[in-house]
Amino acid sequence: MAAESKLNSKVPAGTLTDKWKTYKSTAPLVSPNNKRRIDVIVVGSGLAGASAAASLGELGYNVKVFTFHDSPRRAHSIAAQGGINAAKNYRNDGDSVYRLFYETIKGGDYRAREGNVHRLAEVSGNIIDQCVAQGVPFAREYGGLLDNRSFGGTQVSRTFYARGQTGQQLLIGAYQALSRQIAAGTVTMYNRHEMQDVVLVDGKARGIIARNLLTGELERHGGHAVVLASGGYGNVFYLSTNAMMCNVTAAWRAHRRGAYFANPCYTQIHPTCIPVSGDYQSKLTLMSESLRNDGRCWVPKKAEDCKKHPNDIPEADRDYYLERRYPAFGNLVPRDIASRAAKMVCDEGRGVGSTGLAVYLDFADAINRLGKDVVEARYGNLFEMYEKIAGENPYERPMRIYPAVHYTMGGLWVDYELMTTVPGLYAAGEANFSDHGANRLGASALMQGLADGYFVLPYTIGSYLSNDIRTGAISTDSPEFEAAEKDVNDRIQRLMGIGGKQSVESFHRRLGKIMWDKCGMARNEQGLKEAIVEIRALRAEYWKDVFVPGSTSEYNPELEKALRVADFMELGELMCMDALDRKESCGGHFREEYQTEEGEALRDDKDFMYAAAWEWKGEDKEQELHKEKLEYEVVKVSQRSYK
């Protein structure tokens, strides 16, 4: 059933290092006086959306930005802790654009597109320059210059950070740039507005239907192009490190209108999160990967020691399993590897804590070596956060951690220009699938979101819009807008009309459990097939028995949630389909049937070196798989090794 039709990555010809330069110097432009006549809709005000909107506003386009949050500053990007990568080589430790490019491709287990990733590495340095110019208070050394730290999957120090609040500071920078454009009148901000559909006219994206979350009114908004920067879909698992409101609706609605969804099964499970404590749990809290710079992961060698106080277990009875298995990278192996290693020791019965689903992350050595002050300066706020949640003091007792869903590498398929398979519809940031392959390296999401928004999209969207200078304003009175609005309204009425007995939340929890058990850290054919059947049944039950209180014409968070969960259920099924189809293990996708004798992921480059892009074929129809073959012209593809 696979076809290669329609997928043109549009990576420019030429050597890898020249592609982006050539593209920029030859792309068609829109002259300043014409930009004023062009409307661009941006959905999302996280790092990707805010940076794109601010930059497009500065260029002179009319920009409309939508967010379901009460302020653009609340986007989930705010929660990123650890840092942002850039190939500045300020440490003189051998870093370069090529090395960042190479490590991103390798870290992604050879499932990302070379051209896009090289461009990302090329613009990474500009991001740091831009953010510093905005006043982002990155960490500094005594000489006043910028400081760096290391992150997993690399052997250089290229991560810039702002205490444990890097995402916050970067987002505030982008939010301030956006605020400046709002004040200048180039950007109109629509807070508390949730996009419910994209509208296609003559096959092109020409606007959206948004729901005003305060009044419940459906609004039509026209534009010459639409950018989705709506974030990731990790909350399909219910429990994740994502903020509670993160959802897939914008991307999923676009998918149903013709945008292919790529690699949905590539999910990143982050190795260091605070373990689940009870069934009332609403979300999981990440402990930044930067902790693995100085923290050592271990479990008891003997299962019978697991209930002992960790400080009573002598050195000789501890298994520092990452250092043992991966001597070259030790505790700094990439996330997918660290997560699976933790699962493996817990599956062997050597997990700790009340549930047995946790490993220790120990700072005793670091405190002895560096002193408590230094450890506190580096990680103070993370330690505090841990203590608030877990009620234990990590200076005295090792942290308990366990992997949790964190990031989604999959997303809307985009070409080199970040355009989806729908002309004029773009996807940026975590919402697209582009740069991280099957596994993302730490501190690279912030880099990618800002690269897309500040330095890529403003160029690429111009070449599309250069054909629209005579189009004139997009009318929202067309039959297409009318039909799309009616679809949204019908769906809302249908949900409100069910009047069943079960809460939206309870369905979401059940979906999450299916996904975590059968499409989580390890997957197999039988489990995935069962999951598909279970999700279909759950979805049918949802549309018969969910109860949404309140009315449609007021502020109604339950209704918002109901619409999002409905989309998660459709996505969950596609994730399982994709995981079933990919009969290999790579990066975050681990199929139990495909592993080496030592339990490492076993890729199958002959049959699966492609991005899987799924096409929506209609309600209750199988989606069609399209394959974008990945060609490696520069990097030599090899088995990933961190030993």
């Binding site: 930059s55 500065e58 949050h69 009460d70 302020s71 653009p72 500053r73 609340r74 989930h76 705010i78 929660a79 500045k88 300020y90 500009n126 320059d129 831009q130 953010c131 510093v132 110019a133 905005q134 006043g135 208070p137 990155f138 500094r140 050394e141 005594y142 000489g143 006043g144 910028l146 995402g167 916050q168 301030q176 740039a177 400046r180 709002i182 004040a183 807070n191 305060l214 903020a243 509670m244 409101m245 404590s277 009870g278 009332y280 609403s282 809290t285 956060m385 608030k388 949640i389 009620g391 500040y454 403003p458 809460s503 939340e505 309870s506 209180p549 007021e554 502020y555 968070p557 339950e558």
Partner: protein
Amino acid sequence: MKLTLKIWRQGGKYKGEFVTYQLNDVNEHMSFLEMLDVLNEQLVHQREEPVAFEHDCREGICGTCSLVIDGRAHGPMKGTTTCQVHMRHYKDGDTIVIEPFRARAFPVIKDLVVDRSSFDRIIQSGGYVSVNTGQAQDANNIPIGKDVAGKSFDAAACIGCGACVAACPNASAMLFTSAKISHLALLPQGQVERKQRVLDMVAQMDLEGFGKCSNVTACEAECPKEISVENIARMNREYMAASFTAEKV
């Protein structure tokens, strides 16, 4: 543990009143908001409208959660947002009173949800450095002393939650506004627009209907990010200096 909750309800069938609820099975490891989730599940099961409250990250960084808990913005603990309060700080039989952040410039939308968009407009009035994408020089061309950078960071850590306003008897937004003024005034990047920024932001703050500061310092006490009132003093100095010397060109 068993708890009694007295919650402010406003909108729909409620005119603006406290409604009392009982919860019988609260686990001490739950977060405060998870406790409210349990209440809302219970209400949905009784086909009642759940209590509207705002939240998102649930880890103390997005600034979305609010709530005045037993008279204190963000609850009983110092340096903590509502979403980070855990039930282990309460005991069986407690009664907890929950209200929205109240201020003229923060109108109530529903129940515990208020409109804080006035904060956005304060930032829009000047809380930025005017640099377009692509105009930046190399980052290390601007060395900044570690302590200056640290001070600026302390102010930049504000999450825009509005607890300072809710805690202030005058509903003043001085702490929030001064945090942004300080963040940028301390950095070399913020110098060019320094004077105009403080004049414009203070003007916008007044326009939004926030009250005057009378040095109560309840804002600092309740601020979850422990933003210091020193920032207010700095803003006042900046404002005085700018009023005398700024030139509109």
